[in-house]
């Protein structure tokens, strides 16, 4: 039974029981692999952890019938560094740079999520100027993350050239980061309560230049891929996941939106000053790899819109809120999530009133989205497994933490 999309909650946010029907309707059985065709032997293949297309150190055990996938098993943990445990032994301020090392392709977004969670715990808010800077950098990071995804995803499917195009343009974003905070990848751009650094002279001009430079480049990517016959054949109806299944598995971000669910935390639970900006949430219809590609490309355009609006209206004022030198949140617990480039990035922090978190738990989008891999690739071919791993957009640093 498939659930019509209307019963799935759209912009309005909280769970109100309407979800339950959708979740119940998906009778997933991911435990037992499919039966092989005829009485042939299963071929078990270890894909990874050393494999060119598993985006790091993911290990997927594939059960194959010839080239057809009967079932998969993901083995993770090859990049486990115990980030959550480290948090218990560091002060709130000291832990801030560690979150950059989780999703190293979207370090700014990770930092934003953590800072906001602690701010919520402290009950302070970043001043307006800081919020604008945060939004600009985070949206730039979203573009950079999608660029990286597009390049590697296209490379997985066999198109070599987009990778170099996207990396050329991603470089411009990294240059802005470098000028702003001195780091390109693991930026540590924000501080609890605001931003540590004032913008450099020419910050707005750089960003405006980037926007005029980058807007036509998206068309360039699309010229290479969107109408490409081979690209269409490789991505259409590959790795389909229905809205109901996606919700049942807790999938978020572009993967969920490509299935037709209009769920974006920037609209559903606006944080920072996202409610001030005018942008749309692109959604797909089929939930296949091609739709996820279209959704992410559209998201890059929407991010440009947001940055365009934000860069024009950066107010004057302080960049740090009233945060004590030694951060000692009151006893309590908090869950705060933001819309990272890959999906819902949540931080659950338990405070015992000391300078260190009692427990910190991260809800990484990659980890949760990776669950859907098995469902998506059942019955497809080996080549599609690569396409689907690419389309989920995982970063193993975040999956393993």
């Amino acid at each position: 039974m498939t659930v019509p999309l209307k019963t799935v909650p759209l912009d309005d946010g909280r769970s109100d029981g309407k979800n339950d029907a959708a979740i119940r309707s998906s009778n997933l059985d991911l435990e037992t692999p499919d039966k092989p065709y005829l009485d042939s032997n299963e071929l078990v293949i270890n894909m990874g952890p050393q494999h060119p297309a598993t985006h790091g150190v993911l290990r997927v055990i594939l059960k194959l019938d010839g080239e057809k996938v009967l079932g998969t098993e993901c083995i993770i943990g090859y990049l486990h560094r115990g980030v959550e445990k480290i948090a218990e032994n560091r002060t709130y301020t000291m832990f801030n740079p560690y979150v950059d090392r989780m999703d190293y392709c979207a370090a700014v977004s990770n930092g934003l999520g953590y800072c906001e969670a602690v701010e919520k715990l402290l009950n302070v808010e970043a001043p307006p100027r800081a919020q604008y800077i945060r939004v600009i950098l985070t949206e730039l990071q979203r573009i950079a993350s999608h660029q990286l995804w597009l390049g590697t995803h296209a490379l997985d499917i066999g198109a070599m050239t987009p990778l170099f195009y996207t990396f050329r343009d991603r470089e411009e974003i990294l240059k802005i980061f470098e000028k702003y905070c001195g780091a390109r990848l693991t930026t540590h751009a924000f501080r609890i309560g605001g931003c540590q650094y004032e913008t450099y002279a020419g910050f707005e001009k750089d960003i405006k230049n980037f926007l005029t430079f980058f807007t036509p480049k998206i068309d360039e990517y699309e010229t290479l891929l969107t109408g490409n016959r081979i690209w269409l054949e490789r991505t259409k109806n590959v790795g389909v996941i229905s809205a109901a299944d996606a919700i049942a598995l807790g999938v978020t971000g572009p993967v969920l939106r490509a299935s037709g669910v209009k769920w974006d935390l920037r609209k559903a639970q606006p944080y920072e000053n996202y409610s001030k900006f005018d942008f749309e949430i692109p959604v797909g219809t089929n939930g296949d790899t091609y739709d996820r590609y279209l959704v992410r490309v559209a998201e890059m355009r929407q991010s440009i819109r947001i940055v365009e609006q934000a860069v024009g209206g950066i107010p004057e004022g302080p960049i740090m809120g009233k945060v004590p030198k030694v951060i000692k949140p009151p006893v309590g617990e908090i869950y705060h999530s933001i819309e990272g480039p890959k999906g819902e990035l949540g931080y659950f922090i338990v405070s015992d009133g000391s300078t260190q978190p009692y427990r910190l738990r991260v809800r990484p989008p990659s980890f949760v989205n990776l669950q859907a891999l098995d469902l998506m690739v059942r019955g497809l071919l080996v080549a599609d497994v690569i396409a689907v791993i690419g389309t989920i957009d995982i970063v193993l640093g975040e999956v393993d933490r």
Binding site: I45, A53, G158, M160, N228, I230, A383
Partner: protein, 430 residues
């Protein structure tokens, strides 16, 4: 001996006939060396042009503009440790690259670089070519099997299925070209590669334009099938890097691996040569029947020299534009030497062309004519080589089942239809 060579050059016999085995052997050696050098040049060109498609520079350090990179690569590959996996079938593992290499080099025995610039003029030339080139799949299958590992096995299976099924469409396209050779007064066709080009000359049209669009369709089918046949992008499933790490040669390293690469590139040149021979007039210069005055002959005989002159000019430009820092001193010298070499070749070719102009049937005239044949043939092949690189830079990879679907459900029916229509049109016209 010189007398023998002179008498051969003066005679009108085609190569490969009785009494010319010695000369054929010389040709074999020339072709073996020439193809190896062409593969090296192709290696450099592919890396450079692919890099320029992708807004990067490519090899720049080994020699000026990376010109010595292929030599460095070859040296490295020869010096590398020769690893044979413990679980592999030693003998088969050892022999697999040789099978592929043998198959792709043997094809050159029937490829005519000119009416007399060929190892042999076999009367079943095209059949021989199809037969031998399908042996190449054996090397791949055997390599995948002998490696005793999953990824090579899958790569080998994909590759064998792919090559076998594309051979069908390829063969039918070839047959429709052969049919066209029989459209003369006597009504006799030929399977000889030289004969096919001569038939195009007699009929005064390249077969690609014959019975438009039938000839073109057959050519197009061959052009697609030959990409699949050589396992190149977008049909490079057998060695799809992102899926099967390296496909059938995953377990190979060092010199054995380089033999596979050599075989692949040699096969690329071979199939392009076949396409040129069958549809693009082989060694013929443009409009040989229309512009056949001696003046035109002379003008076209200047082309090889001018091409090398142009290359030399580019090299000179590169030398001039090289930064004046002392770091680039040796590179600048190297590039200047390369320019001088190219310029010397250009001068030599131009001198031959000028000398060949004055007297008919002199040695220089024969030489000039032969150079012209080889030049036009190679120019046409070079276009295909560039296309191979271009495909690789532009397109994603097809999935295996889609590839098979295109092969059996699209290309096979079209080539069958083209074949039948060609036959019908041919009968009506004659």
């Amino acid at each position: 001996m010189p007398n023998f060579i002179m008498s051969y050059l003066g005679s009108t016999v085609t190569p490969g006939q009785a009494g010319n085995q010695f000369w054929a052997l010389i040709y074999v050696l020339i072709i073996f060396a020439g193809v190896s050098v062409a593969v090296m040049a192709m290696n450099w060109l592919e890396r450079k042009s692919l890099a320029h498609f992708q807004i990067r520079l490519g090899p720049m350090r080994v020699g000026p503009h990376g010109l010595l990179q292929p030599f460095a690569d070859a040296l490295k590959l020869m010096l590398k440790e020769d690893i044979i996996p413990a679980e592999a079938d030693q003998f088969v593992f050892w022999i697999a690259p040789l099978i592929g290499l043998l198959a792709s080099f043997t094809v050159y025995t029937v490829i005519p670089f000119g009416p007399s610039e060929a190892v042999s003029d076999m009367n079943i030339g095209i059949l021989f070519m199809l037969g031998i080139s399908s042996l190449a799949v054996l090397g791949i299958v055997v390599a995948g099997w002998a490696s005793n590992s999953h990824y090579p096995l899958i790569g080998a299976l994909r590759s064998s299925a792919q090559m076998v099924s594309y051979e069908v469409a390829m063969g039918l396209a070839v047959v429709s070209a052969i049919l066209m050779t029989s459209l003369n007064e006597k009504g006799t066709g030929t399977l000889s590669m030289i004969g096919i080009v001569q038939a195009q000359q007699q009929q005064g049209i390249w077969f690609i334009f014959k019975f438009f669009p039938l000839g073109f369709l057959a050519f197009a089918i061959f052009a697609v099938a030959m990409v699949a046949e050589t396992n190149r992008a977008p049909f490079d499933m057998a060695e799809a890097e992102s899926e099967l790490t390296a496909g059938y040669h995953t377990e190979y390293s060092g010199f054995r691996w380089s033999l596979f690469m050599l075989a692949e590139y040699a096969a690329m040149i071979a199939v392009s040569s076949i396409a040129v021979t069958l549809w693009l007039g082989g060694w013929m210069r443009p409009f040989p029947n229309l512009l056949h005055a001696p003046a035109w002959d002379f003008i076209f005989s200047l082309f090889p020299g001018l091409t090398f002159g142009g290359l030399a000019a580019i090299a000179v430009l590169g030398t001039v534009r090289m930064p004046s820092h002392s770091f680039f001193k040796i590179q600048r010298f190297g590039l200047a030497a390369f320019a001088a070499l190219l310029g010397f070749i250009a001068l030599l070719l131009l001198v031959i062309a000028l000398a060949g102009r004055s007297a008919d049937a002199s040695l220089a005239a024969r030489f000039s004519e032969g150079i012209g044949h080889v030049y036009w043939f190679m120019l046409k092949v070079a276009v295909f080589m560039y296309l191979f690189i271009w495909y690789r830079a532009t397109w994603p990879r097809y999935r295996f089942d889609q590839l098979m679907r295109i092969g059996w459900k699209v290309m096979l029916p079209i080539s069958l239809g083209v074949l039948m229509l060609t036959a019908i049109v041919g009968v009506i016209i004659s």
